[in-house]
């Protein structure tokens, strides 16, 4: 027999075994406590060629085992000697040449009738190459997130890699029941592992699964091959799975992106149109502002002359004159005053009015306005002022603020022709970062002054235009259309905002947001003397004004008040006068806007010559020349045109007296 021939030749057997990867065999006689090994085993262990097939002490079994693996193998062998049936361990041995080799030892025990082990025999197989390959494969699998599986048709379990388990969120195992694997696949998907015995048409497929451990929905791709080991045998499925969720999501997102493209373009265009509208509106306001500012400047000069002259004429009128002349002059004065008020509003709207902000206590300001309000508002309208004392102090120009509130009150009155109630309330409001957009202000502490009525209200269309200059809902001749735009300009210039809330038939609420001030309010000024304060000839005032009429009026007024006055029509001649004056100039009154040298340039030059010189600007159109951020520099005095005899007299006296 051929078999016998091979077995008969031990050398040949060893060669075959070595070629097959079998590296050695042992037989451990438990009863006699002796170990017998073959030549290959003896060679690997460095026991010497003559040790083969000779009884050896059993301790020889452990001699070549790597120290790090020795305890583990001793425990496993102890198990075999105590009744374990199978031995299957991988461990390292150190060969006589110092090489470290990975061995797979497989063995089994032989039991007697009483289940007592009597022999432990096994085979050592050199698996060093396989270990390296396995290591490479393991790294490739975990690095690539690829799980492998092998399924034989008809088996209830599948042999899987740990990465396979991880991808499906299953507890790591070498074998998993088919049911366990297919249970993670979402319903209405085909099973990951075929269950019906039919060979799947295609192994390449994508499955939606719900991971078993964390319940996450994932997409898993399956790739592989079905093979048959022999004719008539069932198929064997060898494949890999990997997570394709990210790719799937991207695909979905891309599709959604495509689907909503038109909608998003329309939305984008819409937004752009809105932004353009807003920009156009802002540009319109700016243009109108420049125009009105320019007009107001010239207008104020004219009004100064008119009111000044009428004032002068009235004061010079003696009792014997025709009373009609007096009445006519009074009318002229009222007309001029109205014109001045209008000009003031134009300036306020164009945000070019000079503001003189100071700390203001709103409750006190509102209390002071109650007389004025009752006089302005008809009796049919009930006025309520709600301003608790704990309202924060704000910083604003109190006169302009009064003006704004009055404007709003008048608007409210006009919205309630049949009467109703008007509420003016003040309260604290904190604007958080996320509210700052809707409030049109930067986040911070504000005082909100609300003026509400229960009148006719406005529709949405009207609401979009209320801040436009010259827009009015009132009958022709009743309103200027500058009220709300002036309030808006004032609020913006003061670093605040105006919000308006209204609906047809529901009344209107206008809210003025003004920033909280860190300073406390100044005590109110003492009531002024009824009489104009006069000057004396020892007090010399230099008046610089390019408009001859205005200059003539100003000079005339000051002389009438008793001051000594010198005059100049521009900066250069003013400086020349300053230089040659034997009597010191107490006060320089100069226009702000003048050709060649502006008021502030003149002031600077004059101060260089005479550091303690007081300066009072007069202006109908003060621009950046003297203002910073729409507010006056500290220490700079300004008298707005048109000014009256009295306002000029008081202001001049006050400044000179300050010392």
């Amino acid at each position: 027999m051929a078999d016998e021939a091979i077995i008969g030749n031990a050398d040949q057997l060893r060669a075959v075994l070595a070629a097959a990867g079998a590296s050695g065999a042992w037989d451990w006689d438990i009863v006699r406590d002796r170990l017998t090994v073959d030549a290959r085993f003896a060679e690997l262990y460095g026991l010497g060629a003559d040790a083969a097939d000779q009884p050896l002490p059993t301790a020889a079994f452990f001699r070549a085992i790597h120290p790090e693996d020795r305890a583990r193998i001793r425990i496993a062998v102890a198990g075999m000697l105590a009744g374990s049936e199978f031995f299957s361990k991988e461990f390292r041995i150190i060969a006589p040449d110092g090489a470290i080799l990975w061995m797979h030892g497989r063995g089994r025990s032989q039991l007697d009738d009483q289940d007592e082990p009597i022999r432990f025999t096994g085979l050592l197989v050199d698996v060093t190459d396989r270990k390296r390959t396995e290591e490479r494969l393991r790294i490739a699998q975990s690095a690539g997130g690829i799980g492998t599986f092998e399924y034989r048709d008809g088996f209830a379990t599948v042999s899987v890699s740990s990465e396979f388990c991880r991808l499906l969120g299953l507890h790591p195992a070498d074998r998993l029941p088919v049911r366990t694997i297919n249970a993670v696949v979402c319903e209405d998907e085909e099973p990951l592992i075929p269950e019906d015995g039919a060979e799947p048409a295609s192994i390449d497929s994508v499955f939606r699964i719900r991971r078993s451990d964390d319940g996450a929905d994932r997409w898993i791709a399956r790739r592989g091959e079905a093979m048959r080991d022999s004719e008539g045998s069932g198929y064997r499925l060898l494949g890999v799975i990997y997570d394709v969720t990210d790719a799937k999501l991207q695909e979905t997102r891309l599709r959604e992106l495509n689907d909503t493209l038109e909608q998003r373009v329309a939305q984008e265009i819409d937004e752009r149109l809105r932004a353009e509208d807003a920009l156009r509106q802002a540009q319109k306001m700016e243009a109108v502002g420049q125009l009105t500012g320019g007009i107001a400047h010239d207008f104020n000069n004219l009004l100064t002359i008119i009111t000044g002259s009428v004032d002068m004429a009235l004061r010079r009128l003696d009792n014997s004159a025709d009373p009609r002349v007096g009445r006519a002059l009074d009318n002229a004065m009222r007309g001029a005053e109205r014109a001045a008020a209008l000009t003031q509003r134009l300036l306020a709207f164009s945000r070019r009015q000079p503001l003189d902000p100071r700390a203001v206590e709103v409750p006190r300001l509102l209390a002071g306005m109650s007389d004025l309000l009752t006089r302005t508002i008809t009796e049919a309208v009930a006025i309520a002022i709600e301003a608790p004392d704990d309202v924060w102090t704000i910083e604003a120009d109190p006169h302009q603020l009064e003006n704004a509130i009055l404007n709003l009150a008048v608007n409210a009155r006009d919205a309630m022709p049949q009467g109703g109630s008007l509420t003016i309330a003040a309260g604290n409001r904190q604007v958080a970062a996320h509210q700052s957009d809707e409030s049109h202000v930067s986040p911070g502490d504000y005082v909100a002054i609300t003026v509400s009525d229960n009148g006719t209200g406005m529709d949405a269309d009207t609401l979009t235009k209320v801040f436009d200059p010259f827009f009015t809902t009132k009958e022709v001749g009743k309103g200027t259309g500058l009220g709300l735009s002036m309030v808006y300009g004032f609020a913006k210039q003061s670093g605040g905002s105006v919000l308006i809330d209204s609906a047809l038939g529901e009344g209107t609420t206008v809210t003025l947001l003004l920033m909280r001030s860190v300073q406390s309010a100044e005590p109110p000024a003492d009531a002024m003397d009824e009489r104009e304060p006069f000057g004396s000839a020892s007090e010399t005032i230099l008046v610089v004004e390019d408009d001859d009429d205005v200059r003539a009026y100003t000079v005339g007024t000051l002389r009438e008040l008793g001051y000594r006055v010198v005059e100049a029509h521009d900066g250069a001649s003013a400086l020349a006068l300053l230089d040659k004056q034997d009597q010191p100039i107490k006060l320089l009154i100069t226009d702000v806007v003048m050709p060649r040298m502006s008021g502030s340039e003149l002031a600077a030059a004059a101060r260089a010559r005479q550091p303690r010189l007081r300066i009072l600007y007069t202006s109908g159109y003060p621009r950046d020349a003297i203002m910073r951020d729409g507010r006056l520099d500290s220490g700079v005095e300004l008298l707005a045109k048109p000014f009256t005899f009295r306002s000029l007299a008081e202001r001049v006296r006050e400044i000179i007296d300050k010392g």
């Binding site: 452990f62 001793r74 425990i75 198990g79 374990s84 049936e85 507890h171 998993l176 249970a183």
Partner: protein
Amino acid sequence: MITGHVALSELEQDALTEIVNIGVSRAASSLRKMIGDQVVLSVPSVEVVSQRRAARLISEREVVDLIAVRQDFSGPFCGRALLIFPETNSLELVRAVTGGALSAEEAVEMEQEALAETGNIILNSCLATMANMLKRSLSMTIPEVLRGNGATLFEIDETTGSEGLVLFLYIDFAVRQRDIRGYIAMLMDIPSLATLKQLLDEFISRIVGEDG
């Protein structure tokens, strides 16, 4: 294997696996004698897990209803041992262990009792062998037959927040000639685990002592 309380070193885990191996080898041999067929065992898996996780490990592997024979043990370490298999395997197992001695009707009648005795033999031989290896004695309760899913077998109340840690150990067995497969599972309380660790160290020093 690290837990809040007790960590088994790699060597201790090897030793425990080996002791379990010996125990289940003995159990498998008992089963083999009872049914006269080859019994195949897997390598035992030993882990420290929460009770709930242990239940999940079992139910994850079996979608069908389970039947189990349960025996509690106490001594220097205590816990619970279970012989678990799919309920559909139950009658087949009863037929196998009773051999030709019973009619089909009698087999059905005796199912519960036969399962209890089978479990008794398998779990006892396993636990007793382990106790002998560790040189300690354990006392064991009378076996009890239970039906249900993983959670009911381990008596896990899904609503309680406390998740007791257990040493969970399981091993698959299958009878080739018949369609019978199942698991032997063992749960040990963590306080017992500290003692077990000590016993394992003694075992290791007995075995490895001379050269480490």
